[in-house]
Symmetry: C2
Subunit: 216 residues, 2 copies
């Protein structure tokens, strides 16, 4: 590990934050409160497993797929590449070809979603997504991990093609997914990644904390 | 970072797991389910912020203390020492003196709590705790982080002395706390630690994922 500082690429978890259209709202409540005369502060948390910056395990879309507690630490701790995609609509196979992406790599895509979409309090349906072709290229290459900077790898505009196919291609190839990164403060290049989900047994996803450290 | 494997020292989060006596129960529910004919699996999570392996921020016991989103990454990522305490009742100042603990260190205590207490489905009130004297020594030394292997640094057997004082001494010195580690598979010695809480804004604690990597 170098001595460079860790950059937090995690969306803050707060009541009222944007969530996927039909997901439950985030509720963080101080059940016990010193302001109300209690001895301590003690909060409860309630949210969907795919809230804010989170991971999808294969089980999200693959009936017998691995669950989030089975993620290998090798997939989520180690060198990663942040690739900037300037296309304002989608991440296409042709966009990826110049980068010579290799088997086992951890790849994070920075798009116009960071920061624009995260500043929007409402769900932004028109975020930059991964196309079916790009998903197939990443699956064929057998990368270890893919990260995107809004709430899904696929687009909800065309649910069958955008959501189902793209998730199935990536998760079916056992590529672990980080969704909802905020890469606003991160330049394209090489980093050390740490992304740790909660140890939610037999769950198909989890909120995570994710940090990057520039590799000089 | 060495190439040694990461050891998971996090308690599994499951329905029915042991929680602090008066805390809310863990609920992980598959709200949307492929077994029931839905397109995907999608879970909701509900739990106390101090469930399983978790961190306490100063705000847990200190009215104007820092919240968990303010934890510096330097406190929770980096070299750490696992110290084994053989005392079956408590961690005392005298137990610590041979270890020459230094300012800024990250210290994890392994006791008989790992694994005995975690195997008990009911809350184990008689866990090995940190005494007021040991807390004062750690605060005076100004360590960065202290981790223990059951649900609290202090004992509930004597709530005022055991819980309030020990938390106030440690959190008042802005020592960040990990509680609920499972150190069963960890020998005493030197490790790299990564312990990441969720980014729960203005909360006094958070469940975490914590891993160790042996330093040769």
């Amino acid at each position: 590990m170098t001595k460079n500082k860790w950059i937090d690429v995690t969306a803050p978890l707060v009541n009222g934050m944007v969530v996927w259209t039909n997901d439950i709202k985030v509720q963080i409540e101080r059940r016990v409160s010193m302001d109300r005369g209690d001895l301590v502060n003690n909060s409860t948390i309630s949210m969907g497993a795919h809230t804010g910056t989170h991971m999808d395990a294969p089980l999200h879309f693959i009936a017998k797929g691995k669950s989030i507690d089975q993620v290998p630490f090798d997939a989520i701790i180690g060198p990663t590449r942040v690739i900037e995609i300037k296309d304002k609509v989608s991440i296409k196979a042709d966009d990826l070809k110049p980068y010579n992406i290799k088997r086992g790599e951890r790849i994070l895509f920075k798009t116009r979603n960071s920061p624009a979409s995260w500043q929007n309090k409402n769900f932004a349906e028109d975020f930059v997504f991964i196309t079916k072709g790009a998903a197939q290229l990443l699956a064929y290459t057998k990368v270890a991990l893919v990260g995107v900077d809004y709430l899904s790898v696929g687009s909800p505009v065309d649910p069958e093609k955008g959501m189902k196919d793209v998730h199935e291609i990536l998760l079916g190839a056992e590529i672990w997914l980080i969704e909802g990164l905020n890469l606003t403060d991160v330049k394209p290049g090489n980093y050390n990644l740490i992304c740790l989900p909660l140890k939610l047994m037999n769950a198909e996803g989890s909120p995570v904390r994710a940090v990057l450290q520039r590799i000089p």
